[in-house]
Amino acid sequence: PHFIIGLPDKNDALCFNIDDKPGTIFNLVKDPLTGTVVNGQTIGDKKVEPGSKINTYFGRFGIVLQKFGIRLMVSTQEILVSERGKQAKLFWSESATIKGHNMDLQVTEDRSLSVTVKNSVKFVIILHKVWKMHPYHQDYLGFYTLDSHLFSPKVHGLLGQFYNGVQFEVSELFPGENEEKPDAIMFVKGHQLVVTRGWQRDFRKDVKNGENVPCWFIHNNGTGIIDGELSDYIVSGLF
């Protein structure tokens, strides 16, 4: 999966990829003060040509908003919602709107799920539908957090650690491996990293083609930009 960290104060963005074995569950957001947890489980391609790189994507998300008694399990097949004991099962194949006690939920057929928590965060999950007979790829999901400033200062996780901003500086550009994408040195979190100026795609408006987001790309699974190591974010279950 590719991560994009929007930094509006700097009018810039950071991005990195995370790849591990398909099936791994990562903690994306953990906010002990609001009781919010977002975990995501990866899936791989249906088939991988021998010797080629294994790409992974998120196939399931488990979301808990403890303060509001909300629990969501979103997969490429279905959406299970429970709020204070009430449960509902929704499918991507039908548009639906649920107005809950503290949460509004809107499914746009085969496209997106928007979850708005009262006086709190809003997030969007995008369904990337892939032709069923595609020999390599399968459906996968994207997760977009809006209003991330509403989390507490203690928020952490692969995405959450950036919700309160990140300080960095970038040196002059110099030619990199790809002539179209120059490199630079980034000073961040006490590290000096070689980063590359590139693009990643935001699929909220155009689920098929996405919109290019210029960003500083951090190599090696985000090493140096994420706190600790990737393995620190691996959890045993979705909830």
């Binding site: 999966p1 590719h2 991560f3 994009i4 960290i5 929007g6 930094l7 509006p8 009018n11 810039d12 963005a13 995370i18 994306l28 995501g40 040509e49 790409n55 992974t56 994507y57 998120f58 085969d110 995008i126 990337h128 539908k129 892939v130 032709w131 069923k132 007979m133 595609h134 020999p135 390599y136 996968y140 994207g142 997760f143 977009y144 957090t145 809006l146 209003d147 991330s148 400033h149 692969l158 995405l159 950036f162 919700y163 550009l173 002539e179 179209e180 994408k181 120059p182 100026r197 693009w199 990643q200 795609r201 935001d202 699929f203 909220r204 083609n209 996405g210 290019n212 987001v213 210029p214």
Partner: protein, 633 residues
């Protein structure tokens, strides 16, 4: 193309991949400037005029300059200052009858290499029972690594495969390697440096001409072959073993003064052969015209041996002189066909057509072109097809093209050359055997959208109808299909079910056949049809149609008549970087008839030179609301 011996062409590679008739060709060439001074290197390649360029790049000393497809008007505006200074030359020019030439030059520093890469795509059209891939190669000097590779994948199975080249000698023949396995074909040609030379110590190269691959696919099912891939479908329709329909054809022949001598003689010769080839079930008429219109007979004649003999004798008496009265001549032909249908003198199940041959603009009678088009359209009323042959360079091709398209036909340019007789006969052969008329394709309305044309006036023997569209639901892997038409004895009606087949990947690196090729085929076909439709629509409709075609051209990176390819290139110390523009030519712009290249009087080609921003850091567009996300691509 090199300017001195001190430039060495190191490699030329032409890589063509075809999946279900959609061809994707990449031409790559690397040259090294061995001199200790900078030199100009030219990259000149020819591509089929039916193709759309999709990409061009130059890599110089590790730096890549990539062409960008932009809206033509915007590109023009961007560089209009340069254009206005009179720096006009063409990056794309007509070249012969089937090709257009893309050429760009760049100044290369001493001991520096340059790699040019041009990519283009086209939907191969079936004609005379085969598809043809034409690759023109003229490397000008022996090349260290020369390679033509073609991979063809046709899910219907490949019926035959042939590859030959105009420059092939007995020595080179064994180097053309062909492998054919049911659905896949691989063709390669890779002569060594020595094998490219005419003789061991000779200069020059044998490799100069056309490398042509021809093949056809197996045809079994009536419904045709429908492929569903990734939310798009394409339907290829050319059923086997259909009896031909009788045709009712009126030849409208320009005998005005400008046809005098060679053109008139070639027309007579072609007509004699064409008349000989008529079937006895066919009906025909002849309408020679200059200022006056003088039909051979007032009504259609059955193509009996006696009538054909009499017609041939008449044809030989046609002499050139006078003005050009196209309006009256075509209307006379329409009247003859209409009367025959009314009087039931032609079979119920038959195809009616007019073939107009002219070499100039209307100069007598109604001369206002839109009025002629309107008159003809109203008279024909969708009841017959009109094919227009523009003979030579003095015709208003655009006028004939629109006239034909408005009446379910097509226009063709006949080049003034010694083989004009063969060209005329060739065109006639293409349309002489209608198999079906009024062919309608029906797909469930709630299942598909963005359909390309689904009604065709005729299906001709040896050709193929292609319809493509999008599925409303990506998950949908089957849907019903219905094709109806008029056949010789009965109404042709077939119903079937289109269903996606699990297929093994053929080009795994590019995921070519499962990636977006069906979608690109759909986009290519849609753009072609929108451009055709645009030509015959009202001003109001034209705006919408143009917008749609432009949007698709930009979205799929096709260089069409609405877009331009803007290429940035390094120049010299005074002008650090320049931009040049490549446009797609329209048929009306292809006035050149010589294979040797364009003439200086050609219009429609532009060369612009202006500074461009080559900064590598993308400009920022990020929203002020922070968005943190994780997704895949």
């Amino acid at each position: 193309s090199v300017s001195s011996d001190e430039i060495e062409v190191q490699s030329v590679k032409i890589d063509c991949k075809v999946a279900s008739r959609f061809a994707h060709t990449v031409m790559t060439s690397t040259a090294l400037n061995k001199a200790n001074f900078s030199q100009e290197v030219f990259f000149e390649v020819e591509l089929p005029k039916t193709a759309f360029m999709t990409n061009f790049s130059m890599e110089i000393d590790g730096k890549i300059y990539v062409g960008e497809v932009k809206e033509k008007e915007k590109a023009k505006k961007q560089y209009e200052q340069a254009v206005s200074t009179g720096q006009t030359a063409g990056l794309v020019k007509a070249s012969g009858r089937k090709m257009e030439k893309f050429s760009v030059s760049v100044n290369i520093a001493a001991n520096t290499s340059v790699t040019f890469t041009l990519t283009y795509e086209e939907l191969l059209q079936r004609g005379f029972g085969k598809y043809e891939i034409m690759i023109r190669v003229k490397p000008k000097q022996p090349v260290q690594q020369f390679e033509i590779v073609a991979d063809i994948y046709e899910p219907q199975g490949i019926a035959f495969l042939d590859a030959h080249a105009t420059f092939i000698t007995n020595e080179l023949l064994p180097l053309v390697k062909k492998t054919l396995t049911d659905k896949m074909a691989h063709i390669s040609f890779s002569p060594t440096l020595e094998q490219q030379r005419p003789c061991p110590q000779c200069g020059g190269t044998l490799i100069d001409g056309d490398f042509v691959i021809k093949y056809d696919v197996n045809r079994v099912q009536d419904i045709g072959d429908i492929q569903i891939v990734n939310g798009y479908f394409v339907h290829f329709f050319a059923p086997a073993d259909l009896p031909r329909l009788p045709k009712n054809v009126v030849f409208v022949i320009d005998r005005s003064g400008s046809m005098y001598n060679i053109k008139m003689d070639q027309t007579r010769k072609a007509l004699v052969t064409i008349l000989t080839d008529l079937n006895e079930e066919d009906h025909f008429g002849l309408v020679p015209f200059d200022s006056t219109v003088s039909p051979w007979r007032p009504s259609l004649s059955k193509a009996t041996p006696e009538n054909v003999k009499a017609a041939k004798e008449f044809v030989l008496t046609i002499e050139a002189g006078g003005w050009t009265n196209i309006n009256e001549a075509v209307l006379a032909a329409v009247n003859i066909l209409t009367a025959a249908e009314k009087n039931n003198t032609v079979p119920d199940r038959s195809a009616s057509m007019i073939i107009l041959l002219t070499d100039g603009d209307p100069s007598f009678g109604v001369r206002h072109l839109p009025t002629i088009q309107s008159n003809v359209r109203n008279a024909i009323g969708g009841n017959m097809s009109l094919f227009c042959l523009g003979f030579g360079n003095d015709v208003d091709y655009n006028f004939l093209d629109v006239l034909a398209k408005q009446n379910d036909g097509l226009a063709r340019r006949i080049y003034e050359a010694s083989d004009a007789v063969l060209q005329l006969q060739g065109f006639y052969d293409e349309v002489s055997s209608p198999l079906l008329s009024e062919v309608h394709f029906k797909y469930p309305e709630n299942t598909v959208n963005s359909l390309t044309s689904s009604h065709f006036k005729q299906l001709f023997n040896g050709s193929e109808i292609v319809v493509a569209g999008r599925l409303n639901d990506l998950e949908m892997n089957d849907f019903p299909v219905e094709v109806s038409a008029q056949g010789l004895e009965n109404d042709f009606m077939v119903k079937g079910q289109a269903s996606a087949q699990e297929k093994s990947p053929i080009f795994p690196d590019q995921e070519y056949i499962f990636g977006d090729f069906t979608e690109r085929l759909w986009a290519y076909l849609t753009i072609q049809q929108l451009l055709d439709k645009r030509d015959k629509s009202t001003a109001e409709e034209k705006v919408n149609i143009t917008a749609k075609a432009l949007d698709l051209s930009l979205r799929y990176n096709f260089v069409t008549p609405l877009t331009s390819l803007v290429v940035t290139k390094p120049q010299n110390d005074e002008k650090p970087e320049d931009a040049v523009i490549a446009d797609k030519l329209t048929e009306a712009q292809r006035t050149d008839t010589q294979d040797s290249g364009p003439t200086s009087s050609q219009t429609g080609y532009r060369y612009a030179s202006a500074p461009v921003n080559t900064g590598h850091i993308p400009s920022h567009r990020y929203a002020s609301t922070p968005v943190h996300s994780v997704d895949g691509d």
